[in-house]
Structure formats: C-alpha cells, structure tokens
C-alpha cells in the first residue's frame, strides 16, 4: 500500500466560458462538498479556476459550497487552449496535491482531463454518473438500484478510495472504477447528474492565487475564433417535462406536433439519436448517451423504440410515458405508462385534456 497522506482535498475544475460558470461546475461543487464530508478527515472542496480576470467568480463558487478557490490567472489563459490549461492545472496539482480532481464531462472537460491524467500518469474515469467514498452508502446504492452482489464488501470498511460509477456499452452495463495506486483520483462527470447546493448569499472561503508559469512557446494551438451559436442552449437538464420524438414520428413534420405538445404541457423538446441522425431536428435536442442526460418529472417518449443509448440518458426520469405503435419495444417495456397507438392521434387528445 502506497502512502498517499500528503494528498488532501477534493478539487473541482471550475469551467467558465466567456466569464460565466458552467452549470456542471456548480453541480460538481455540490457533489465535492458531499464527498469531502463523507471522507470525514477535514478534507475540503476546492474549486480551481483558470483564465484571465476570473477571480471575481470566486464569490459565486463559495456561495455554492466551495471551501477554497485556487485561481490560476495569466494572459495566456484568456481563451481555453488544451496546452495552456493542461500545463497550468498540472503544475497546480503537483504543487498542492489534491486527493481527487473532478471535471464536467463537457467538450472542454473531456479534452483537458485525459491530457492532464496522462501527464500525471494517474487514472481517469470518464462520464461518471455516481461517486462514492463511504462504503456503506455505496452498498445501499447497489442494493437499491442494481443487480450487483455485495460479496466482498463490508459496511464497516473505513477505506476512503473514490468509487466511480459509470455506464458502459451504451448504458447496458454499469461499472464502478477505482484508482488504487496513483493520486490524484480523477473523473469526468456527466452534466445534469449531480445536484448543486442551495446558494448561500454572502458565503466566504479562502482564495489562493496559484503561480502560473506559461510562455507563448507552451501553446501550440492558435484560437482564431470562438463562435457562440445564435440558438439558445436547450435546457433539457433543467426541464420538468420533456416531450421527445423519435423515428416513429415518420418525418421532420412530426416535430411540429412535438413542439406544440411541449408548449402545451410546458415542456422542452427532446429527440432520439435516430431522429437527429435523420436530420429531422438539431443535435442540441438529443437525449441519451451521446446527447444530454435528463431526469425530468415526466418524460414523454413519442415514437421512440428505446435504443439502449437513449435509455441510458433518460431512464432515471420520475415518470416515463411511452406512446408507440409497437407494444413490445424496449421503451414501452420501460415506461410507467405505455400507450399503444398512433402518436399523431394520441398526442392531440392529451393536449386537449391537459389544461382542462
């Protein structure tokens, strides 16, 4: 057993774009807070933020639960580059030795985290949907939600390794991954899965300005332009109701009905990969393993047969309603309420009754 006593604290990479913190950052601070208290050894949850002129964001990070904020500021960090961020954060990890480092599984987190993990020669687990330190809590989770056997696990086990649970094979299989022999333990976590803490106005913490040693030679990629899409991000992760359409819609016109449905029930439009691949709707609406993970109060699956990748992204929804011609498809089996029938006839009837 190696001695890891010099490694302390839980770090969250505080991803910001154009000076605005990503939602997943706040979710991870919430999760990091929970894990730091589970460790029960005085571990703190710390945000690490990189950029130029980003220290004012520290207040928001404290308000969501960060005990400490490490600020990495440098003119060469003004824009995100893999090279600049990887060097600055790797140097900070080597200096301050966190026990755990968490990233949002965004296009930036999934670009940056593997580069840093490879440089540190440590393990990285991708796209986690659950994290545990306390063995007893982990066993509760297995018992309640999975078919796993508890053989070899002991509720009195006081070990403090991070158990990182993630879907594989498109969500058919779950695996818990550990990093026993190297530190820090690193993971990316899917946006929309963890819960942020209640915001506490005026909360304060400790700010540490970490040294950043960067020269232009360290950065081999030139950012010519960053273009924000004119379209708004679809807020699938925050939606209470999602109305999703799949191949069973038959054609792109089908999404007009789904849009009407969503606006009638106060929901957001989602889509299966098949509908996105067919070019019927923009990929930002995609729910599933390669799209967005969602857990609304009600998920309407309209003409979605339920490929495993799709199920992986929505099966924790509180209530699932499936509308499909095929009563035998996986989505109809998964659904809390399954309606066998022609969605073009059923949906208008639901809309007519909804607000009565």
């Amino acid at each position: 057993m190696k001695d890891f006593t010099e490694y302390k604290n839980i770090w969250v990479f505080a991803e910001q774009r154009q000076g605005k913190l990503m939602n997943v950052t706040l979710e991870l601070i919430g999760e990091g807070y929970k894990l730091s208290r589970e460790r029960g050894d005085g571990a703190k949850v710390c945000a690490v933020i990189a950029g130029n002129g980003v220290s004012p964001l520290a207040d928001e990070l404290y308000q969501y639960g960060a005990d400490m904020v490490y600020v990495l500021e440098h003119p060469l960090l003004t824009q995100y580059t893999t090279d600049g961020y990887a060097k600055a954060i790797t140097d900070a990890i080597n200096t301050y030795k966190p026990e755990i480092v968490l990233f949002g599984a965004t296009h930036i987190g999934r670009d940056l985290a593997p580069r840093i993990a490879a440089r540190l020669n440590t393990g990285l687990t991708a796209d986690c949907t659950r994290l545990d330190i306390n063995v007893s809590n982990y066993m509760d989770y297995l018992e309640e939600n999975t078919t796993a056997s508890l053989n070899g696990l002991d509720r009195n086990d006081q070990s403090k390794g991070l158990k990182q649970t993630r879907p594989a094979f498109g969500g058919n299989l779950m695996a818990t991954i550990v990093t026993p022999n190297t530190r820090p333990q690193m993971a990316t976590v899917r946006p929309g899965v963890m819960t942020k803490r209640e915001k506490i106005q005026g909360a304060k913490g400790e700010l540490i300005k970490a040294e950043v040693d960067l020269t232009p030679d360290d950065i081999n990629v030139e950012v010519l332009e960053v273009v924000k899409a004119a379209k708004e991000m679809v807020s699938l992760t925050d939606a209470k109701i999602i109305c999703s359409g799949g191949r069973g819609l038959g054609d792109p016109e089908g999404f007009k009905l789904i849009e009407e449905f969503a606006s009638t029930v106060g929901g957001v439009v989602g889509a299966s990969r098949a509908a996105v691949d067919a070019g019927w709707i923009d990929p930002i609406h995609q729910v599933g393993q390669t799209g967005t993970t969602v857990k609304p109060e009600i998920y309407f699956a309209c003409g979605i047969s339920g490929a495993i990748q799709h199920l992986a992204g929505m099966q924790t929804s509180k209530i699932i309603v499936a509308i499909n011609k095929d009563p035998e498809c996986p989505m109809m089996k998964l659904a809390d309420y399954s309606i066998e029938g022609d969605l073009k006839k059923v949906i208008p009837e639901i809309m007519a009754l909804w607000n009565q």
Binding site: H107, G123, E349, W354
Partner: protein, 262 residues
Amino acid sequence: MKIAVCVKQVPDTTEIRINPETGTLIRDGVPSILNPDDANALEEALRVKDNLPGSEVTVITMGPPQAKEMLQECIAMGADDAILLSDRALGGSDTWATSNALAAGIRNAGSFDLILAGRQAIDGDTAQVGPQIAEKLGLPQVTYVKEFSLEGDYVKVKRALEDGYEVLKVKLPCVLTAIKELNEPRYMSVPGILKAAKHDIKVWNAVDIGVDLTTVGLKASPTNVFKSFTPKPKGEGIAVEGDTPKEKAASLVNALKEKHLI
C-alpha cells in the same frame, strides 16, 4: 503527407440487448464493426490523400487477432497500410495503458505528419485515448473536429462545442479526433476489397514496438474495474387502457393528475 489513423473494432452496441431474466448482456450474434467516429477519422485521411497524391495512410489498432478483419475493411476503403498491436501483455489495458501502447506503435511505424482518431469508441465512450496518445507523443491535440482544412504546414479546424464552435490553427504534426459531423465515410470499393484480400497486415507484439512493459496491460493500468453490474429492471409499468386514442389520453391525464404531476 504521412498520416496515421487510430481505429478500434467494437461490438455494434445498437444491436446489444439485455437478457431480462439474468440482467446480462446478450452479445451472441452481435456484429463487430469499425468504430463509427474512427470511420470519420479514416475518411478525412483518405480525403487528404485524394487531394495530395503520394500521401500514405496507415491504420493502427490494438486488439485481438480478429481485429484484422476490421483492418482489411480499412484497406478496402483506401488505406495503404495496416498495423495490429496484439499481445496478451497488452490485454486489460485501461486508457492510459492503451495510449502507451498505441503511442509506441505509432513511433515504431515511423514519423507521421498527422495523426487522426475517432473522438470515442461506442463500447466505452471515454474519449480519452486520443488526447492521451497526443500527450505520450508530445504533440498538440484538437478534439471534436467537425471541419478540417490543410494549409501548408498548418491545419485549420473547427472544434465543436456544446454551444457553438472554435476555429483553431495548429502546426503539424498534431493529433486530431473526429466526430461524425466531419464527413460521410466512403464505402469499400471493389478494387479495394481485392487489394485488402492480398494485403499483408503487420502484426506487432509488445516487444516489437519497444514499449516499457511496466506501462501496459491490466496490472500497469491505474484504473481497475471494482465491480460491474446492470441496473435493476424497473417494476412493471401500466398499459394505459381505452378503446380510442381519446379514452387512452383521458386515462393517462387522470392518472397523472392523481399523482399531482399536472
């Protein structure tokens, strides 16, 4: 231009089903395919070759002997050469160990101007091996590439973000990972299939590629699978009753109202 393309043979996960009794994966009869994002990476390499005659495209993979079939498919699409890294010593590698092996294989194959890979494989979905190969080779990387153009010693690429995109300029050599928006992969051609049947695929073991044996395989991997399991099947749902769409809609709306969800 010398281009290396990292590819992986994967089970077609869209074909995988769960056995409802045992809760285990049914993999029997599930076809193995060239990982979809990797097909986009190969297509882009072949397009460079189409525009710059004399360019060479080498595909490289790590896997069991049957991965040769996928490499033959890559030759049939138009790749010039194919390398299979296959050795029990490499088995059970996590992404860190895999990237050590692939980086060593690429180094052993010569020097390349451009290295392409798919963003992620559909069996593990980690998206880690591309960036980790870049790190092990000491090269810059761009992931999630959706547009690519070659401009002398540089490449100009569009990198997809969730809320837009970035335009980046990178000097060669570099590592790029492809997403499906990048292009439409070509089919195998008939002459290609004939060529593939005769092509001698290079099979290298861990010693051939000169990789440090303490950095590959299951034992060297910093991550371990602690447990694997399937989610518990949900309880039986309710098939909403009614003779007409209107009656079914009414039963559903009533049920949701009873649960105070409306």
